[in-house]
């Protein structure tokens, strides 16, 4: 059970305090409710580019990192399809510096041409390093538009292509900031060694004066229900052929999310999982195979991905997966099998609460979903899942007309 207190400033900023006197460190985590799903289809990769620009200085503080480092801090940020997150972990004595820095850049950026020019280039190099210059790097560039036809989950956070980032203009950058980087569109969490009363006063002092701004309302297109199987085959200069299958599933607050997550573990988490036992050990069609959920806030994707053994063709490999799914749908899972994956979930969950940073990120995330208390409730949601729930999800999600299949073939 994670204990914390929460309050909201007059400008709409939600604040969570999670003190822990056992540590000499404090994490200041600021999560903005903006991600790649909020981008225009003509200007993708923008939320992520903007994450880079947030380190480009403000009128008052031209060098953000300089102060963080002088305060003994380490900082970083990440962008997903749903959110953008910034954090600083630093010695508790310098908590005030972190709050000063984050409040300053929430108030406004310097928007210099030099920063935009350099960060465009850096993001282009990141695009190359992670997506274009790596074996299998383009998988999600291919899979997302295959699976999503309307919803903006159809592009990854890096963007659809390099040109969108290369062509980003200063006016677009400014518009993006004022549309999304408002106090009422963010959650601040302090986790670690601090006194709640004085921390509260510091938060009020630094973030309180930021004028309220109305975040841009969100109107996301709903993804139409998929009614037939989609397929794509690509040939690449890779040493191993890989089969990817992506099924549509519910969003993060869907009541069936825990059962779906546990279904993915039953299928493909660990060496006693069904996919591994049946298709790696017994058949053997794959050298390795896994199943996992994307974890998106809106209805997202449930993935199965496996590396084919030499001499196995895609048709045979995929048929093996469908046969296994069919067995699961008709025979269900046992109490013991479900207990096994719940144990794994619980251990992972508890280890993720050990460090202040992951606690702070999780609390902010559940706050964006509606209530940070949800973090403490997730354990109960998972505990309540029954074998029948898992079987129901297998029947509902793992259907031929609900899947997008990508055959990533070696040349």
């Amino acid at each position: 059970m994670i204990e914390f207190e929460q309050f909201t400033l007059d400008n709409g900023l939600r604040v969570i305090l999670c003190p822990d006197q056992a540590t000499q460190m404090v994490t200041v985590n600021l999560m903005y409710d903006v991600g790649a799903r909020d981008e225009s289809p003509e200007r993708t990769g923008f939320a992520h580019l903007f994450e880079h620009l947030m380190f480009g200085g403000t009128p008052g503080i031209p060098d953000y990192d300089n102060y963080v480092e002088k305060a003994g801090g380490q900082n970083n940020a990440f962008t997903s399809n749903d959110l953008t997150n910034y954090y600083i972990s630093l010695p508790s004595a310098n908590l005030e510096t972190a709050l000063w820095l984050e409040a300053d850049r929430m108030a406004g950026l310097a928007f210099t041409e030099k920063s935009l020019d350099v960060q465009r280039k850096v993001v282009v190099e990141e695009f190359k390093q992670r997506y274009l210059n790596q074996p299998y790097g383009d998988v999600y560039l291919l899979m997302r538009p295959l699976a999503f036809k309307k919803h903006p989950y159809q592009w990854p956070t890096i963007g659809k292509n390099i040109q969108h980032v290369e062509e980003a203009s200063m006016q677009e950058v400014k518009d993006f900031f004022y549309a999304h980087y408002a106090p009422a569109n963010a959650v601040l969490c302090l986790s670690g060694g601090f006194n709640s009363e004085s921390a509260k006063a510091l938060v009020e002092h630094y973030f309180g004066p930021i004028p309220p701004r109305d975040p841009k309302p969100r109107f996301l297109p709903e993804e139409p229900k998929q009614d037939s199987q989609r397929r794509m085959r690509v040939e690449r200069d890779v040493p191993v052929s890989v089969l990817y299958m992506a099924f549509h599933m519910g969003g993060r607050l869907d009541p069936d999310y825990p059962a779906t997550d546990l279904l993915s573990d039953v299928l493909g988490n660990g060496e006693s999982s069904r996919l591994h036992k049946d298709l790696v050990q017994e058949k053997p069609l794959f050298s390795s195979i896994s199943a996992y959920v994307g974890g998106d806030r809106d209805p997202g994707l449930f993935y199965i991905a496996g590396k084919l053994n030499d001499g196995v063709d895609f048709e045979t490999a995929e048929a093996g997966i469908w046969e296994l799914i069919s067995n699961l749908q008709t025979q269900g899972v046992s109490e013991d099998e479900l207990k096994k994956v719940k144990n794994k979930y619980l251990t992972n969950f508890l280890f993720s609460q050990v460090k202040g940073l992951s606690k702070a990120i999780n609390l902010c995330y559940y706050s964006l979903l509606g209530d940070p208390n949800l973090l403490n409730e997730t354990q109960v949601w998972y505990e309540r899942v029954s074998p029948q729930d898992v079987q129901n999800m297998a029947a509902e999600i793992l259907r031929a007309e609900n899947v997008s299949v990508l055959e990533y073939a070696k040349k």
């Binding site: 056992a22 510096t97 050298s287």
Partner: protein, 416 residues
């Protein structure tokens, strides 16, 4: 608004582990946090990459140690381990090997039952080994298409020499050699005969700790370690052009003194100034000024024998010669000009913050104690390291840069 006053970080407070000294120099380290329902345990044998006679032998043996015993088949073992909800990783390091397990403390006793059974009768089933070899071979082929990994491999060969256990290159034949007989022999005659350190943090039960001690006391320990092999470098510059690559991976390095040397703290500091953090000189020049790379990093790593300074980055292919020139110029600057006091202050505080972060919680501190033991560092090393950072000044950094970086031939690898 006015900048808040930045203060020096408080003193480093490291929990002192309980160390149970057992026979043949073995130790059981315990770091307790009664508030955690978890246990992190590391079983680390004094047998590392420098002790194995062929590549991948230690990692393959540890990866398959829990694949079956006389009593339990591969399937039984997998089911038992998964049911405990644990996360286990093999550890294959330069001077030690073994595994780390993260587990709920309710299951730790049950895990130990299985663990002792494995040490007693692991049988490395050939059917599972066959699958393992194929996975590993595929992974090797995939990694061989990654410029950064090929650059690391080429660097190791050039720096240590192709016959050195840290420089030897994996070939297709090595995979075929990972068979049941070889792994079983290696397990029985070398790995499990080596002295052992077990490190446990979190909230283990007393009876579980007692069982580990008793088991360690009963072990037969008779593995004699050979001296750390001397390196025999094979050239200092390798460039491999990949026609289709969009980026080139650069890996540059230089031998440095090890962690026990009196200059080590100062050198670690000097390398940090060069490229060890986001605001470092290399990051400023290559990323924030030019936009040639997503990231560049310089670091100083050490084993008990020697240290190695490495610089690594991936840059747009069209920028690679210029990037290499910038790196060399920044090294020259470090040698020619003393850093400003302001930079010294920033790096000192940054490094102290890093150490505090690395010491945050018993499970993190376990990693510090592990490295202290592996490197043979004296008691109080981290406290001394932390306070010694306060005494470093701009003249010392300049002197160290001159002593260790001036006129030295760098090993330079460019791939892609």
């Amino acid at each position: 608004m006015q900048a808040p006053k930045i203060t020096d970080a408080s003193e480093l407070k490291l929990a002192t582990p309980e160390i149970h000294h057992l026979k043949s120099g073995q130790r059981l380290w315990v770091l307790r946090d009664p508030g955690l329902p978890l246990v992190k345990a590391q079983f680390l044998f004094h047998h590392g990459l420098v002790d194995q006679y062929m590549p991948m032998l230690n990692s393959s043996t540890w990866s398959n140690a829990f694949a079956g015993t006389k009593r339990h088949s591969t399937e039984d073992m997998a089911l038992k381990l998964d049911t405990m909800g644990l996360m286990m990783e093999e550890e294959s390091e330069v001077e030690s090997s073994g595994f780390t397990v993260n587990i709920h403390n309710d299951f730790f006793g049950e895990f130990l039952d299985l663990c002792f059974e494995v040490f007693d009768s692991a049988n490395f089933p050939e059917s599972e080994l066959q699958r393992y070899r194929e996975r590993r071979r595929q992974s090797f082929l995939i990694n061989s298409q990654k410029a950064s990994i090929v650059a690391s491999r080429s660097f190791s060969k050039a720096f240590y020499g192709g016959q050195h256990p840290l420089g030897i290159q994996v070939t297709p034949e090595h995979f075929d050699m990972l068979n049941q007989d070889r792994l079983k022999k290696h397990w029985e005659e070398e790995l499990t005969r080596a002295p052992l350190d077990v490190l446990v943090s979190g909230n283990p039960k007393e009876e579980d700790l007692d069982r580990i001690s008793t088991w360690m006391e009963g072990r037969q320990v008779d593995f004699q370690r050979k001296p750390f092999p001397e390196r025999n470098p094979e050239g200092s510059e390798i460039t491999q052009d990949w026609e289709k690559a969009m980026q080139s991976a650069l890996k540059i390095g230089l031998e440095m003194p090890g962690a026990n040397h009196p200059d080590y703290v100062g050198l670690k500091f000097t390398v940090q100034v060069l490229g060890g953090y986001f605001g470092s000189r290399l990051m400023k020049e290559l990323r924030e000024e030019k936009g040639y790379t997503y990231g560049v990093h310089a670091g100083l790593v050490s084993n008990s024998k020697l240290g190695v300074m490495t610089i690594r980055t991936e840059v747009g292919k069209e920028f690679r010669e210029e990037s290499l020139g910038i790196i060399e110029k920044e090294i020259e600057n470090l040698v020619a000009h003393p850093p400003l006091e302001d930079e010294i202050l920033k790096v000192r505080r940054y490094m102290q913050g890093q150490i505090l972060e690395a010491a945050d919680g018993v499970m993190s501190q376990q990693e510090l104690w592990k490295s202290a033991w592996q490197l043979g560092l004296p008691e109080g090393h981290f406290e001394n390291f932390y306070s010694k950072l306060n005494s470093l000044d701009t003249h010392q950094v300049l002197a160290l840069a001159n002593k260790y970086l001036k006129g030295r031939d760098l090993t330079k690898i460019i791939i892609g």
